[in-house]
Amino acid sequence: MSKKYETETPSYTMTTVMEEAARCLLCHDAPCSQACPAHTDPGKFIRSVRFRNVKGAAETIRENNALGAICARVCPTEKYCELACSRTGIDSPIDIGGIQRYVTDFEQQAKMDILKKGDSNGKTIAIVGSGPAGLQTATTMLERGYAVDIYEKSEKAGGYLTYGIPEYRLPQDIVDFEIKRIVNLGADIHYNVTVGKDITMDDLKANHDAVVVAVGASEAKSLSIFAGNDYVESAVDFLARVKDAKGDITDVPQNAVVIGGGDVAMDVATTLKRLDAKNVTDVAYEEFDEFRASKKELEGTRKAGVTIVDGYVPSAVDDNVVTFKHRKIDSELKIKADKIILAIGQQINADNLGINIERGVVPYVGYKTEDPKVYITGDIAKGDQTVVWAVRKGKKVADLVDQTLLGGTK
C-alpha cells in the first residue's frame, strides 16, 4: 500500500491526551454533550480521561455508539460538539474527536468487550445494507434481544466506510474491527446478496418481524454534459477502486480536475495528491464562505497541495477540456485534464425494494413507510448524510421498531 495513502495522523499518547483533557473546563451541563446528533457525551468521557478512568470513558462512548472509533476519525466535530465547546471562549475548542480516538484505540488494545447482547425476545429483524446506519440499527436491536440478519450487496460490509472514506482518514482495520464487534454480538451478515434481485422483499417480510432498509445513497449523480465522456469517473467509483486496491492503482493521472465542494470532493482531491498526481484542481459550485466540506477536510486538502477554485460551475466539456463559468461574475475557466472526477452528490438506488422515491429522496417524514413491516434509515431517511447522523438514525429506527413490536423494552 502506498505509504502516503495509508498513513493516518498520529494519535495522542497517555501524556498528551492528559494534557488535552486538562484543557477541558469540565463544564456544568456541558454544552458539547448536548451538541452531538448521536448523543455522545464528551463531557462525561473527557472527565473520565481527566480522572484516569480510560475504561470508563470507553464505556460511555461505546454504549452509545457502535461506531465510536469511526466517528472519532471522520466526524465533522467542528459543526457539533467542538462548536459548542466553552473552551472556545478562551482559545480553541478541546480536540474532542482526538480524545475519542485515543479512548477507542485504548478500548481496542485492552480488548474490552463493552456491548452486551440482550436476552432473546424471539423476534427477528432484517436489515438491508451494512453501512453505518445498518450497523448501528443492528447493534441496538441485538442489545435489545432481537435476532438480526443483514443483507449486503457487496463482498465486504461497511458501505461507504469500506468503499468510500480513504484509508488515511479511516483505516480499514478500524472499520473491520468495529464490524467484527457487531458480528460477535450476533449480527448475521449475508454478503453478495442484492435484495430485490437475489432475494425479494416479500421473502424478507415473510421471514422477519420487520425489515429496515438502509441502502444509503450510493449512486453517483452526473451532469448531462459529461454523459458518455471517457475521461469522466464518479467520485464514489474512484474512491471505491482506490480503497479496494489499497492505493495501488495504475492510472494515476498527471493532471486531474475534481468537480464538487463537499467532503467527498476533498477526499478525492487529497487521495489523488497522496497517490502523487501532479496537478489536482478542485472546482466547487459553492464559494468558501458557504463551503459544504468541513474545515478540517478543506484544510487537509489545501495542505496536500490541491488548487481549489470556488464559485464556478461546469458549462461545457470538449473531450478532456472542461469550461467553467463563475456563478456571479463574468469569468470563465478552462481546464484540460487527463481525468475528470465528479463529486457532485449521490442519490438513492432502491429498485425493487418497494420504497417510494421522488426525485432522489423518499417522501416519508420519519422512519416508517406505507408498509407497516418496512422501515427506512440512514441516508435515505430525512436528515443529514453523515456517519454521526447515520448512528443517530440507526438508534432512532431501532427504538421505533422495538416500540412497535414489543412496546419498547428499554
Binding site: 469540565l26 456544568h28 454544552p31 478562551i90
Partner: protein
C-alpha cells in the same frame, strides 16, 4: 538586560546571589558543581560527605514522581543517600572547586554516626577550604538509624553533634533540619545551643508516592519491594514555608539565618522564601527535572521583582511577610467579601456553580438558558471558592460588608491579591 544586586551576606559569608544547589545528586562531583557555577549559581552545597567507615550502597531504580493531569514532577521521591565517592575524592573536589571558583561559595555538607565522625569530618572539610559547613541531620532514607532524620528529631543528639562540629572547625555552620517532626523549634534551638550559626530547611518529607496496582508494591520497585523515603518538589513548598515561618517567629529566633529549601523552581517561589526570612535558597528537584539553567530565570525574575518593589538590594526583602502571618485567632472576622462576576468575561462553563453547590454554600444560581451564574448574597459567606475555580478570571473580590452587629468600615478591609487576578 536588567541588573540588580542579588548578593546576600549569610552567616558572615558573602554570596553573589542566593541560589545554591542543595546537598543531593545535583552536586555530586567537581564537574557538576563547576557547570552549575558556570551557569550562574552563587554556591553549591556539595553532596553530603560521610565517614570512611560508612559504606554507601544504592538501589536501582531509586526515584519516582507524582503527576497530576499532564503535569510531571508535581512531587519527586528519592531514595539516594549521601555521596558515594571516596572521602579523599570528595575532599579533593571541594578544594579544586574553591581554587577554580574563588568567588563562589562552596558549602560542605557532612554527616557522621557519632561525635568523633562529626568532629573529624568538620576538620577535613575545613582543611579542604570549604567556606561553610552544613550538618545533614535530616536525610530520611539512611540505612543506619544513627544517621539522618532519626538524629535530627532528637534535640539532645543534635546539640551534641553540633558541638562536635564546632570543636572540629571554626567555619560558619548551619544545621539542616527535617520536616518529619511536629515542631522544628526544639531541634533548631538545640542546634543553636550546640553552636550552629543558622538553619537549613526543609530536607525531604518521608513519603510513599505511588503504588503499582498490579504488583502491589510502592514505587520505585527495588526487586519486588520498596521503602518509605524522601519527597520533594513543588508539592512540599507549602510545608517548607510553614516551618520557616514557625522558626522565625519563635521567641529569640527572629533573626535566625535561614537557608530555605523545598520546591523552589521559579523566581516567585524564591521570593516567597525570602519574604518569610530565608537569606539563601537551595534547589535540587527542579534542577533534576530541568537542569542548572533554571537559575537564569530565577535570578532575572527576582531582579525584575526587585525593580517592581523599588528595592536596590535583595536583602531588603528578607522577612517582609513574616509579620503578616498571625495566629488564626488574631484574624479579623468581622466582615465578608462577596464575589463579583464579570459577565463579559464569563464563558458559561458553570464551574463556579458546581463548586459553590458541592463545596461551599449553594450561593450561586445558574441560568440554564443563558448559561450564566449569579451570586445570591443571602447565602454567600464570602469564601471566594468560585473565584479560585473560575478558569477565565471572570470572578474577583467584590463588595465588602460588615457582619451584623460588628464595628468598623467594610471598605477599609484589605482582601485583594494580585495572585487572584493573574489573568
Amino acid at each position: 538586560m536588567i541588573d540588580k544586586d542579588l548578593s546576600v551576606d549569610f552567616m558572615g559569608v558573602h554570596f553573589e546571589n542566593p541560589f545554591l544547589l542543595s546537598s543531593s545528586p545535583v552536586g555530586n562531583c567537581y564537574d557538576m558543581c563547576a557547570k552549575a557555577f558556570d551557569e550562574g549559581w552563587g554556591g553549591v552545597v556539595f553532596k553530603t560527605i560521610g565517614p570512611k567507615h560508612f559504606k554507601i550502597d544504592e538501589v536501582s531504580p531509586r526515584f519516582d514522581e507524582l503527576t497530576k493531569e499532564g503535569t510531571p514532577f508535581v512531587g519527586f521521591k528519592n531514595m539516594e543517600q549521601i555521596a558515594e565517592h571516596p572521602l579523599e575524592e570528595n575532599l579533593h573536589d571541594l578544594k579544586k572547586l574553591k581554587e577554580n571558583y574563588p568567588d563562589k561559595i562552596v558549602v560542605a555538607s557532612i554527616m557522621g554516626t557519632n561525635e568523633e565522625d562529626w568532629e573529624e569530618l568538620a576538620q577535613l572539610v575545613t582543611e579542604a577550604k570549604a567556606d561553610m559547613i552544613e550538618m545533614n541531620l535530616s536525610c530520611p532514607q539512611m540505612t543506619s538509624h544513627e544517621m539522618g532524620s532519626d538524629v535530627g528529631t532528637n534535640p539532645e543528639l543534635v546539640k551534641k553533634y553540633c558541638a562536635a562540629v564546632k570543636r572540629g572547625s571554626d567555619l560558619p555552620m548551619m544545621a539542616k533540619m527535617t520536616p518529619n517532626i511536629t515542631d522544628m523549634v526544639p531541634a533548631a534551638k538545640a542546634s543553636m545551643d550546640g553552636g550552629a550559626d543558622g538553619i537549613a530547611t526543609i530536607n525531604t518529607v518521608k513519603s510513599i508516592s505511588n503504588i503499582d496496582l498490579d504488583k502491589k508494591v510502592a514505587l520505585p520497585i527495588v526487586n519486588g519491594k520498596s521503602s518509605i523515603s524522601g519527597f520533594s518538589g513543588k508539592a512540599v513548598k507549602p510545608i517548607a514555608l510553614r516551618f520557616i515561618q514557625q522558626l522565625r517567629t519563635a521567641a529569640g529566633m527572629e533573626l535566625l539565618p535561614i537557608s530555605g529549601i523545598g520546591g523552589i523552581e521559579t523566581w516567585q517561589d524564591a521570593a516567597e522564601f525570602i519574604l518569610l526570612g530565608a537569606t539563601t535558597l537551595q534547589v535540587t528537584t527542579s534542577v533534576m527535572q530541568y537542569g542548572y539553567r533554571i537559575v537564569e530565570d530565577m535570578k532575572n525574575g527576582l531582579m525584575h521583582y526587585m525593580e517592581e518593589q523599588h528595592v536596590d538590594h535583595l536583602s531588603d526583602l528578607i522577612g517582609l511577610a513574616t509579620k503578616n502571618i498571625v495566629p488564626a485567632e488574631d484574624l479579623d472576622r468581622d466582615y465578608k467579601v462577596y464575589p463579583k462576576i464579570d459577565w463579559d468575561k464569563c464563558i458559561g462553563c458553570g464551574r463556579c456553580y458546581i463548586s459553590c453547590f458541592d463545596g461551599a454554600h449553594q450561593a450561586i444560581t445558574w441560568d440554564e438558558e443563558k448559561r450564566r451564574p449569579s451570586v445570591n448574597i443571602n447565602r454567600c459567606v464570602g469564601c471566594q471558592l468560585c473565584n479560585l475555580v473560575c478558569p477565565v478570571g471572570a470572578i474577583t473580590t467584590g463588595e465588602k460588608v460588615m457582619k451584623p452587629g460588628r464595628q468598623g468600615k467594610a471598605e477599609d478591609k484589605q482582601v485583594d491579591s494580585s495572585r487572584l487576578t493573574h489573568f
